[in-house]
Amino acid sequence: MTRRARFSLFLAGASCFAVLLVLAVLGLPGFGTTRHQYRDHAVAAAIGHGTANVVSAVNFDQRGIDTLGEESILLGSVVGAAALLRPARREQDHAPAGGGSVLEATRLAGYVVLAVTLLLGIDLIAHGHLTPGGGFQGGVVLATGLHLLYVAGRYPALARLRPLASFEVGEGLGAAAFAGLGVAGMAVAGSFLANVLPSGSFGDLLSAGSVPLLNVAVGVEVACGTVILLAKFLEQAITITGP
């Protein structure tokens, strides 16, 4: 099709569909109203299991199977992207020489921020069942933090700190731990992904049953997976050259 034909076809379809969408939205209960049936049940269930962050309770306790699926998507996408970004038959992977020239001050700032982000990431994971954050958010922060080394001008340092094979191991183990905890729930309480650990007292670090453990599993998987992803893209952009 010509660009024009394509555009007209799209516009015709989209405008018809938009009419339906507008009619549909006018049938919604309005923005910010008070009726949320699932919410009422979910909050009660979270409090019952001593989980102060209800979003974590939904993600890891009540609808844990969704998160298992989500972690599998992450695992599959990372493995898939890594496989797609492997060097092709005629390509070469050569590491760049030297550290590049970066101002000392920038480098120092990079290292300081690195330390802070690593701490922040661990904190986010550890308190995921109490405060906003959790395995996913913390994992992303950890992985991005590690890549501040690149900003600090040290691609070789980054490459050393980043033995990709062990990150793959970590990713696999993190995902396996999540599924394994699910199976443990089946063995102990007779139901897959059942929250088998004691709930503890509401708001404590050791509360919410197995939610903190699941957070750690997800944190490890996400951190390792994101590192692998970014590493593969960096490799493509920096060290892999065509025939």
């Binding site: 549909a24 699932y38 191991v169």
Partner: protein, 611 residues
């Protein structure tokens, strides 16, 4: 609920957890020996098949229900997520696992795989399809839909040396992601109205509800999202691009079950959630029309191909159109017919893709014209290919023939008297295209074809294996034999169509689904349906389509010797075909534009009768 039943229900979770754990093992243990990776992956697929089989046997009392995390429903509501294994869900899951085992067996040792990445992706693919087939929750279906999507994109583009594989993978990924996001938008609309996500809870929430724009929009969004995966016209463009270029073992799953899972999701959601609101006859009319268009487009495009895997891909579109027509009748016999047909099709099409893969790995090409006569030495591969083609056309006693006749009967009795003729024509044309290719390549029948005349995509492609195959390894032959077994089972073992018939009655009963999942109400009795086995009329129609397929194939091969009148008639069809072919442009912008137009079309078909 007794402990034994509770134990069986936990198996539903294992059907998802076991392949995920297997995939984790493949990722965590780097440098896994090839033999270990192959055997562990195949063993996992077989284990999942055993689990599904066990569940299927225990669905006798109705449905096996699992509430994850032990969140059992209280007064008709649970904050948890359910898996519901009825005969259709568990049966489809079993078919998935069997096909996966065959695909892994085929790629045993020979398939060029990067470490164990291929195996990890295949196992996650298995987990995604299991979850989608068993899930009883709208959002959870979206998650597993995305899981099977994400790994499927990576598997499609796995041969990164191949430009068409990458482009096919990207079109597939963009279209399917778009479908998933639209479906999720629909889920959000339904949630806003009802405050529910579980299929059983939604069923109860919508009983007695009036149809309005919001519910129509939600239904259209969710259905179209799933129908993108099912490759309905005009959402089908990605399919040929992806199926033609994916590794042959992956194609078995793509054509055999992934596309059918899209249909399954669509029908399941309609029957359980939207049926109380949107009247059946309108839905039947809308989707019989859509299915018929899909079937015709698929068949016509199929006949015009010379790239054998692309040809098989278009034939899948044709057949899926027929499945949709039969499913849209919404009665147990239509649904059952579609299911028997789909099982037979999965086996036959899978075997054909693997035979095409053998050609690719031996000659580095899957081009019908280029390979003319070069397969003569491989008599058995050739015979298998021709038998597969005839099975596709509906040769008794293959399951395709039985399912087709059941579907035809149900459509005819639902008032679509023209449907049987369409079924015969579409299966004959697609069978004829495959038969034509098989006769030319393996038997050198007819005059050597003149290359490049038709302008269709030539069949150059990167092989799946390292180095050229010199003989067919035993593992590959075993995988192909197993798939022929799947194609036959529905037609020769009466238990299968009978069980499908009973399963279809449960599948069509959305109220019963909700009652059993939420309140342990045992499923009602099912009755034996008349006409679930071979009848004179069905056999006659099947033989007619096989005969028509043979005539068409020979006609295409000996085109130059046909009388002038016939050839002139054929030439008159050429311009129409050329327009249709040009619409399949490989351009992602076109595909999205068609997607939007299709969305509007489905909305009109569903919405206007309600006014």
């Amino acid at each position: 609920m007794g402990t034994f039943e509770a134990g069986t229900s936990q198996l539903l979770a294992l059907a998802v957890a076991v392949p995920i754990l297997g995939a984790c093992l493949m990722v965590a243990v780097t440098r896994l020996a090839r033999l270990v990776a192959d055997s562990v992956a195949t063993a996992v697929a077989v284990a999942v098949a055993v689990i599904d089989g066990w569940v299927l046997v225990h669905t006798g009392a109705g449905r096996v229900v699992l509430w994850h995390g032990g969140w059992l429903p209280v007064r008709g509501f649970s904050v948890g997520v359910s898996f519901v294994g009825d005969q259709f869900g568990a049966g489809l899951a079993l078919l998935v696992a069997v096909l996966m085992a065959a695909a892994l067996l085929y790629s045993w040792r020979y398939f060029e795989a990067v470490e164990a990445h291929y195996h990890a992706l295949m196992l996650l693919f298995l987990a995604g399809m299991q979850g989608f087939a068993l899930s009883g929750d709208l959002f959870d279906m979206f998650v597993f839909f995305e899981l099977m999507g994400a790994v499927a994109y990576a598997l499609t583009a796995f041969k990164i040396e191949d430009a068409s594989a990458l482009q096919g993978g990207l079109s597939f990924a963009i279209m399917n992601s778009l479908g998933a996001y639209f479906a999720l938008f629909g889920v959000g609309l339904v949630y806003a109205r009802t405050g529910q996500l579980g299929l059983p809870e939604l069923n109860r929430a919508l009983v007695g509800h009036r149809p309005d724009a919001l519910l129509v929009a939600a239904f259209v969004l969710v259905s179209c999202g799933f129908l993108v995966k099912a490759a309905m016209v005009p959402f089908h463009f990605w399919l040929a691009d992806a199926h033609a270029v994916a590794p042959s073992s992956v194609c078995v799953l793509f054509s055999g079950v992934m596309v059918e899972l899209g249909l399954y999701g669509f029908v399941r959601v309609y029957l359980v959630v939207f049926r109380p609101v949107l009247p059946g006859p309108d839905i039947t009319r809308a989707f019989v029309v859509l299915g018929a268009i899909t079937a015709v487009v698929g068949a016509v495009m199929c006949f015009g191909q010379r790239h054998i895997k692309r040809l098989l891909a278009y034939s899948t579109i044709g057949h899926v159109g027929l499945f949709l027509m039969a499913l849209s009748v919404l009665s147990p016999d239509g649904v059952g017919g579609a299911a028997v047909y789909a099982v037979g099709h999965a086996g036959a099409k899978g075997a054909l893709f693997l035979l095409g893969g053998i050609l690719l790995n031996r000659y580095g090409s899957v081009d019908e014209l280029e390979l003319f006569g070069r397969g003569r030495r491989h008599r058995w591969t050739g015979v298998a290919f021709v038998v597969g083609a005839l099975a596709l056309a509906g040769l008794p006693p293959f399951g395709t023939a039985l399912g087709k006749s059941m579907a035809e009967e149900s459509l005819a009795s639902a008032g679509y008297g023209w449907a049987p003729a369409l079924f015969v024509a579409v299966s004959a044309v697609t069978g004829a295209a495959v038969l034509r290719a098989g006769l030319r390549v393996f038997f050198g029948v007819g005059p050597p074809p003149l290359g490049s005349g038709s302008g269709a995509t030539p069949g150059t492609e990167e092989p799946d294996v390292e180095g050229r195959l010199t003989r067919v390894p035993l593992t590959m032959a075993a995988a192909i034999a197993a798939l022929f077994g799947v194609a036959l089972v529905g037609g020769v073992w009466r238990l299968v169509p009978d069980a499908v018939d009973r399963g279809a009655q449960r599948f069509a009963d959305g109220t019963g689904y909700a009652a059993q999942a939420l309140a342990h109400v045992p499923a009602g009795p099912t009755r034996a349906l008349p006409g679930g086995w071979w009848g004179v009329e069905g056999v006659a129609l099947s033989l007619a389509s096989v005969a028509l397929a043979v005539v068409l194939a020979l006609g295409a091969i000996y085109l130059s010797r046909l009388p002038d009148a016939v050839r002139a008639w054929g030439r008159r069809l050429q311009p129409g075909y050329r327009v249709l072919r040009r619409l399949h442009s490989g351009h992602i912008g076109d595909y999205v534009a068609w997607f939007m137009a299709g969305l509007a079309g489905v909305a009109a078909l569903v919405g206007f009768p309600l006014r």
